[in-house]
């Protein structure tokens, strides 16, 4: 994809939108919102995809900064990053504000 001139904020916003632009990742985020936090195994049970797939989606969410993972013995515990959600919401609010309907 050809590079589009954009600010860091724009690139950051697009990255966050990308992270949520997938049904499985969106459900992971929703689960984490409801549970507060949970280990990978819980998500694998809940979702209709294989474990490596869940792990891969968690990697995408992690690199986008939407979730954080911590080591808990043999398990990995994931939770949402409130700052990332706020950044995302503000990106939309800025567009709504400029559009001044």
């Amino acid at each position: 994809m050809k590079t589009v001139t954009q600010t860091t904020d724009e690139a950051r916003a697009v990255e966050l939108f990308r992270a949520l632009a997938n049904p499985v990742r969106f459900r992971i985020v929703q689960s984490l919102a409801e549970r507060g936090e949970c280990v990978v195994g819980d998500l694998v049970i809940e979702l209709p995809v294989a474990q490596p797939t869940v792990s891969e989606h968690l990697r995408v969410l992690r690199e986008a900064g939407l979730v954080r993972g911590s080591v808990d013995g043999p398990n990995r515990c994931y939770c949402l990053d409130p700052d990332a959600l706020a950044t995302l919401r503000q990106a939309i609010e800025r567009i709504e504000a400029r559009a001044c309907f």
Copy 2:
């Protein structure tokens, strides 16, 4: 991509996130927010991609319901759909609310 069990609202939210998960489309939305509305040619001049590419991105945005196009003589005039933006914002707000930080 394997189908993931989800509500209509979830699918709708993912669809909207998808529409904004691309640098070119994000800039189109920003431009429309600033200008209020504009014709395709203005976007083609402003963006570093070819005319068919801009047209294609507009189609994606249109099918996602984020923008609306009207015929203006030989031109097509596009503008944002405020309802879609509100839907998007509310999707994030619901997640933030459930996460109750």
